[in-house]
């Protein structure tokens, strides 16, 4: 039994300690917005926040997490889908297939919480998630737009 703090609530989950957080979120907590893409922490589709840091949940064993680690998934990023990043994504119609976008949004939100006015170089460095549809140009523009909303440090 593992206790996880996810989206502001404590959850008791029954899982082997070496089971990745991703599968606990998806299968036990029903939080399917966090996606399986590669399983080796490269594509970023499984990105979540743990204590404000963006992390790739496919490679984090639940046994390594404490109940005090605050985990936030795409479902918990904002109550009304109104995080500046989500608003910017909507304004620029960023997603195509959309499968990677939960992870992209989580990565962008974490970036803005640390660097409210990121440069293109900051974006290149922080946004390493794969988008097979190739929405990179609109993601870049949307990150800048979200920064312009002025409260990019909201998470």
């Amino acid at each position: 039994m593992v206790q996880l703090h996810v989206n502001g609530m404590l959850h008791d989950v029954t899982a082997d300690g070496d089971m990745p957080l991703l599968w606990v979120l998806r299968e036990q907590l029903g939080l399917t917005g966090t996606k399986y893409g590669c399983g080796i922490a490269q594509c970023g589709a499984c990105s979540v926040h743990i204590d404000g840091e963006v992390q790739r949940s496919c490679s984090i064993p639940v046994g390594s997490l404490k109940s005090t680690d605050k985990i936030v998934t795409i479902e918990g990023l904002s109550p009304e889908v109104d995080h500046p990043v989500q608003k910017a994504w909507l304004a620029l119609d960023v997603p195509q297939c959309g499968y990677c976008q939960s992870g992209q949004i989580m990565a962008a939100a974490a970036l803005l919480s640390k660097k409210p006015k990121p440069t293109d170089a900051d974006i290149d460095e922080a946004m390493t998630n794969v988008c097979r549809c190739g929405t990179y140009q609109r993601i870049r523009a949307a990150v800048h737009r979200a920064a312009g909303f002025g409260n990019g440090n909201k998470t």
Partner: protein
């Protein structure tokens, strides 16, 4: 609630609720409005009415538009809705969409037509009948209002879901007359609007499917959850077609959560467990071995040798385009140019790995999946289940990427073959990324030998192009091969005539051939298909010829395209935008290319820099596309932007190789994608000239890579003929 023959409760409503909690109820196609599924037996008056096959209108004026094609990111869902809404004259803000299911299409004699989504045909292949569907519904709604008012329908008009009777000024809404309209006979003669009168078609409207993709609510096939569902991971023969020899079942069965270890056909083994991760861990512990076979020794080297024989083979090649006598003209020419190009196997790498959920009983098979071919998926499910298609259903969900991979239904077949062994229990089969990359239908590897002859003035006398490659049609759709075995798809963009993909250059002597050299590696449709390789080969070589002739690559092309005004127009557009003929910034070099594909004219221009240490930076790519009509220019721009990543990622980094008969690359550590930092500034020039319907999702990919490769030559003097480029030092 339905009860299965074996007594297991399987409530579709419970399924709906569980997925609706994740926010995706409507998208699942399970309670499609008025489609008379087992649970939707609502009288038309209570919930609205179906007005013709394509439109359902609710009393609250919601307009539900049926979408037969699949949405995989390409924006077709929104575009098709715009086409219907244009003729329907409805309020765009009230538009919602739903997927009719393949079984409903079958039951209603294919009233929604072809459900397959590929070849950039989603819009152009259905625009005529879906617009008519919208117009039929508009006429029925007007008729219903006129009958209520007892006035001639000709005195009434519709705009934004409101019907107004001109002489009296009375008005009503679509929602109020929908139930009455649903009972009318559809009109026979329908006249579509003139393009000049379009108000919704041609507008850069936001996509209809964006909101749920920002919140995690969008339910993809991999997210489906059914009561009592188990999860499975599978491994098929790494050497394609080899039969399973042995595996350590006891070890896997002793692992946590494992319920079943099952063979799937002769070649694959699956583990079924409570959690997919548990299933996949146990699968790794199975230590499966396969029978030895004739393909165990196949390697990239042996395939290369096969292709090399093909480019020089005297006989047996199929002809795609022939003018005059190119071999003789080239032989007699005072100046000759010759080169051989190579493109490797490629993987689609959809972000959502292949997966499918199936529930099979003695007399029923239901499947939840992401497919580019709903009817093909239904047929595959029925065949695997051993049932009639009328006993089956395929619930379509949005795709987490398709790119041609999800036209093939192998994942549906396997899920049903697996679930059939555990009747009454829903099983979600997810392929690990490694399995997804091993078991693909790969873009074919190919060699292309090009030869040209020039006269003393550098004028092109003859061009010969011999492709040696596996045939996609032979592997993926043998019924579409020509009678003599010719693969017409091999000549995409190289055809002498036709609206689909005409070779634009006028060359006095021309010969384009394809030597089919099939291997054991299954090949299939990969976004852009053969257009991509054909464009890289031809447009790089045209550049080589221009340089050999001492001519400007743009002007050389312009002269050859003098009789192809639409090809020329897109080429001129990118040349103008990139600033061809002006001095680029210091250290920056330019390249240009044009190609036609999927009924659309495309051109690309690029600006690159190569550092002293050989590092390539692609600064800027300009792409122009003339697709005739444009339904949503923003979507066309988005597809164009995305296509650059697809084309350049492959050109720069990606290669699937073969060793000991199996594919070597199994994940992103060996098959990298283009990321943000390498993605150039992309400018899409959407320049519809009207009067025809070209495709959009694929054609622009083809011009990005040759434009960059030609710019790399301009920067370094190195002609990259073997892809991917990462294998070549640019210093």
């Amino acid at each position: 609630m339905t009860r299965n023959s074996n007594g297991t409760d399987v409530s579709r409503r419970r399924f709906l609720i569980s997925t609706a909690a994740a926010g995706g109820g409507l998208a699942l196609g399970l309670h499609a409005a008025g489609l008379k599924t087992a649970m939707a037996q609502m009288p038309a008056d209570a919930e609205g009415g179906e007005i013709g096959a394509w439109v359902f209108i609710r009393p609250n004026d919601d307009v539900v538009i049926r979408i037969a094609r699949s949405e995989m990111g390409q924006g077709t869902l929104t575009g098709l809705a715009q086409l219907v809404a244009e003729e329907l004259d409805c309020d765009w803000k009230k538009v919602k969409t739903e997927y009719p299911t393949p079984a409903q299409n079958l039951a209603r004699k294919r009233v929604w037509g072809d459900m397959s989504t590929g070849g950039s045909r989603g819009i152009r292949g259905s625009q005529d009948y879906v617009r008519k569907g919208g117009a039929v519904a508009r006429e029925m709604l007007i008729e219903a209002a006129a009958e209520q008012w007892r006035v001639p329908a000709a005195e009434c008009r519709a705009e934004a879901s409101v019907i107004t009777h001109g002489p009296s000024g009375r008005s009503t809404t679509y929602g109020k007359v929908a139930a009455a309209a649903a009972r009318l006979a559809p009109p026979k003669d329908i006249k579509l609007k003139e393009p000049k009168d379009w108000k919704i078609i041609g507008q850069p409207l936001p996509r209809l499917d964006t909101a749920d993709k920002l919140s995690g609510k969008q339910v993809y096939a991999i997210d489906v959850k059914l009561p009592g569902m188990l999860n499975a991971s599978i491994m098929d023969a790494p050497v394609f077609g080899a039969k399973v020899k042995s595996y350590d079942e006891a070890k896997a069965k002793a692992m946590p959560g494992v319920r079943h270890v099952l063979k799937v056909g002769d070649t694959a083994v699956a583990v079924v467990a409570d959690s997919w991760w548990q299933a996949n861990q146990a699968l790794k512990a199975l230590n499966v071995s396969w029978e030895q076979g004739p393909n165990d020794g196949v390697s990239s080297q042996s395939i290369h040798a096969l292709l090399a024989e093909g480019v020089d083979a005297k006989d047996g090649a199929f002809t795609g385009n022939k003018v005059g006598d190119a071999p003789q003209a080239i032989a007699a020419a005072p100046k000759k140019v010759e080169a051989v190009y190579f493109a490797p196997f490629e993987n689609h790498f959809t972000m959502e790995p292949m997966n499918c959920t199936a529930l099979v009983t003695a007399d029923r098979c239901e499947v939840w999946g992401a497919t580019q071919n709903g009817e093909g998926g239904l047929a595959a499910a029925a065949e695997a289940a051993g049932l009639s298609p009328t006993q089956c259903e395929f619930y379509k969900l949005h795709l987490g990427g398709g790119f041609g991979r999800r036209g093939r239904q192998d994942y549906t077949t396997k899920a049903v073959l697996l679930a059939k062994q555990i009747p009454g229990v829903p099983v979600k089969l997810i392929w690990s990324r490694e399995e997804d990359m091993r078991q693909c239908s790969f873009r074919p590897a190919g060699l292309c030998k090009l030869q040209a002859g020039l006269d003393q003035n550098g004028e092109l006398l003859g061009l010969q192009m011999r492709i040696a490659a596996p045939s996609i049609l032979a592997s993926a759709a043998p019924n579409r091969l020509d009678k003599d075995g010719r693969d017409s798809a091999a000549f995409q963009g190289l055809n002498p005539s036709g609206a689909e993909a005409r070779f634009g250059y006028a060359i006095p002597h021309l010969l384009i051939e394809h030597a089919i050299r099939n291997t054991h590696v299954p090949v299939g449709f990969w976004r852009g298909v053969n257009t991509n390789q054909n464009a890289i080969w031809l447009e790089s070589f045209i550049d080589e010829i221009a340089h050999a002739a001492g001519k400007d690559p743009l002007e050389f092309r312009r002269k050859l395209l003098a009789n192809s005004p639409k090809h020329l127009a897109v080429l001129d557009a990118v040349a103008d935008r990139i600033g061809w003929g002006t001095s680029p910034p210091s250290g920056v070099h330019r390249g240009i290319a044009q190609f036609m594909g999927y009924g659309s004219y495309c051109a690309g221009a690029a600006e690159v820099a190569v550092s002293d240490r050989g590092k390539l930076k692609i600064h800027r790519v300009v792409i122009a596309i003339d697709s005739g009509h444009v339904v949503n220019p923003q979507q066309v721009a988005m597809q164009t932007e995305g296509s650059v990543a697809f084309g350049l990622g492959a050109m720069l980094y990606q290669e699937c190789t073969v060793n000991n008969g199996r594919m070597v690359q199994e994940n992103l550590d060996s098959y990298p994608m283009m990321l943000m930092e390498d993605y150039p500034k992309v400018e899409a020039i959407v320049m519809p000239s009207g009067e025809f319907w070209g495709g959009v999702g694929e054609p622009t990919i083809s011009v990005a890579a040759p434009a960059v490769l030609n710019a790399v030559f301009a920067a370094t003097g190195k002609r990259i003929r073997t892809l991917p480029l990462k294998d070549t030092k640019l210093t």
